[in-house]
């Protein structure tokens, strides 16, 4: 079942000079129920604007957005009934205790105090909030406030969860907890859309992604598809006891994307799997190879490459 369908979405903001800014420019994607979808892109790409349309905060300029089959324009109340969201901006009741934050949030989503209390234990443990349950967020650190905001999503079981850079400001430990919680929720059948700057987070979590820049999708598909768009790269790091002069020439013959030799360390970037292996066996044959490492392209590299390509295409 398709949980989220975005078709030809356009969102324009008025500009002070009387013109318009097209923050989202003809974006389409769908997310199946129970899947995790990532929206990636640099600052100002249009991620949050897309999220705001999905959550009925802003009406689309044109295009159609359906959440569990409900149109965000004509059935906005039903749409809100089907989702909960962590907005990019902080959103906590700073004057209420963390416990009361949970109770009010639950009540707004139709849960009684008893129902919230029942679920609170697990959520509090998951996000390490035991100590601060009776404190007010006005007295808490930024990362803790964010944890309170994110934790609320796991109290209710709305079918669609939307997370706009949810882990911003969290330390590594809590990022991990959040990532794990998100994955668990997806396994129970909840559909998740997230935006992130943490590329390894998307890589780790998402079933599919869309990379957007200037409001347009520059690449999209399943994680594997995106990686295979001729963007695949292998990074070899080779450490030698000593390096002979001929090695540089030999490696150059493989026409690597990039080659750096510093002291006794060679760093090579190549596109093909077999090229990487051939270079490695060449290195081994010198008898002086001390240490090697091969890593594949991270989403970050894919992302930089895509944006570079796009720029080249646009002649910039």
């Amino acid at each position: 079942m398709t949980a989220i369908s975005v078709q030809k979405l356009v969102k324009e903001y008025p500009r002070p000079d009387g013109g318009v800014l097209r923050a989202v420019d003809d974006i389409s994607f769908t997310v199946e129920q129970g899947r995790i979808f990532g929206l990636l892109g640099p600052n100002g790409a249009g991620k949050s604007t897309t999220i705001k349309v999905l959550t009925t905060l802003l009406p689309p300029t044109s295009g159609t957005v359906l959440i569990n089959g409900f149109d965000v324009v004509t059935r906005s109340l039903q749409v809100r009934n089907n989702l909960c969201v962590v907005l990019q901006e902080n959103a906590v009741e700073v004057f209420l205790t963390v416990r009361h934050n949970f109770l009010t949030f639950g009540r707004f989503h139709g849960l009684s105090a008893a129902q919230v209390e029942k679920k609170m234990g697990r959520v509090v443990e998951l996000f390490g909030l035991q100590e601060v349950l009776n404190q007010k967020p006005i007295d808490l650190s930024g990362g803790l406030k964010r944890r309170v905001q994110v934790a609320k999503m796991f109290l209710v079981d709305k079918p669609v969860v939307i997370l706009d850079e949810a882990t911003t400001g969290m330390d590594t430990f809590n990022k991990r907890a959040t990532v794990n919680a998100i994955r668990e929720e997806a396994q129970t059948g909840r559909t998740i859309i997230l935006t992130t700057h943490m590329l390894e987070e998307a890589e780790e979590l998402c079933d599919s992604i869309a990379i957007i820049n200037h409001g347009r999708i520059v690449a999209g598909g399943t994680m594997d598809e995106v990686k295979k768009m001729g963007l695949q790269m292998f990074y070899l790091t080779l450490k030698f006891n000593e390096i002979g002069k001929e090695l540089q020439e030999l490696v150059q013959k493989f026409a690597p994307v990039k080659l750096d030799i510093v002291d006794n360390q060679v760093s090579v970037t190549v596109r093909e799997h077999h090229t990487a292996l051939n270079i490695l066996s060449l290195a081994e044959s010198t008898g002086a190879l001390k240490h090697f490492e091969i890593t594949t392209a991270s989403l970050e590299d894919v992302f930089v490459e895509l944006i570079d390509r796009k720029r080249a295409q646009e002649g910039r």
Partner: protein
Amino acid sequence: MRNVMAVVYRDALIRLTSLTWLFFDMAVPLLYLLMFGVGFNKAVGMGVTMDGAAVAYNDFFLAGVLSMSCFGSAINQSYGFFVDRDNGIFYEFLTYPMTRGELLLGKMLFQCIMALAQTALTLTAAVWLLNVPLNITLLPLTILGVMAGIAGWFFALSIVAFRIRRNDTFNTVINVAYFVLMFVSSMFYPLDAVPLWLKYLSYANPLTWHTDVLRYLTVGIGSGVVILAESAGFLLFLLVSFWFAQQALKKAA
């Protein structure tokens, strides 16, 4: 209704965290009444003349106090939108499964509940301390009138709060507007005694309509037909404000 009550519950929790706020909320109309009442009552001496009859200033001014505190409560409650916006929770509210109207109604209802206590205090003080001859039979209507006043002004001020996104600008605009509205109304003086231009202007002011209705309900001053027209006028003002407030809220994100 469940959603409206969720808003009331939330606002109640917030208000209870600040006893100072709660105290002043309750005490302000009382202070108005005692300060203006005692002061002006002395200064004006034999009171004001309404429809040819002399009326003690305290009796006259009670309705002014009530309508003033409705306006004050509405300012406080609409200012809350700026606080919620600063905390970001305002935007999250807009993603909760409730209509924009329910959010506004919940906020209004909470303020009305607060007003019940406020009004009870004010009326008790008026009767016991200032000997105002309060019409007890019309008391339920007086309470309804107070609630309508809060609703009308809260919706109207919310429109301003949603359109003006800066709280400093909001404060300035509302302060000036409040001052002008009070001056051009029947809150402090009978309109028979003022220049004609001011009288006409005052009758175009919902604050006058509201005050006049409350004055009729509390101490029986005013003519039935005019009061009926003013009630209808204020009700219309309330409904139109509610409609525009919902529209403004839809564009507030």
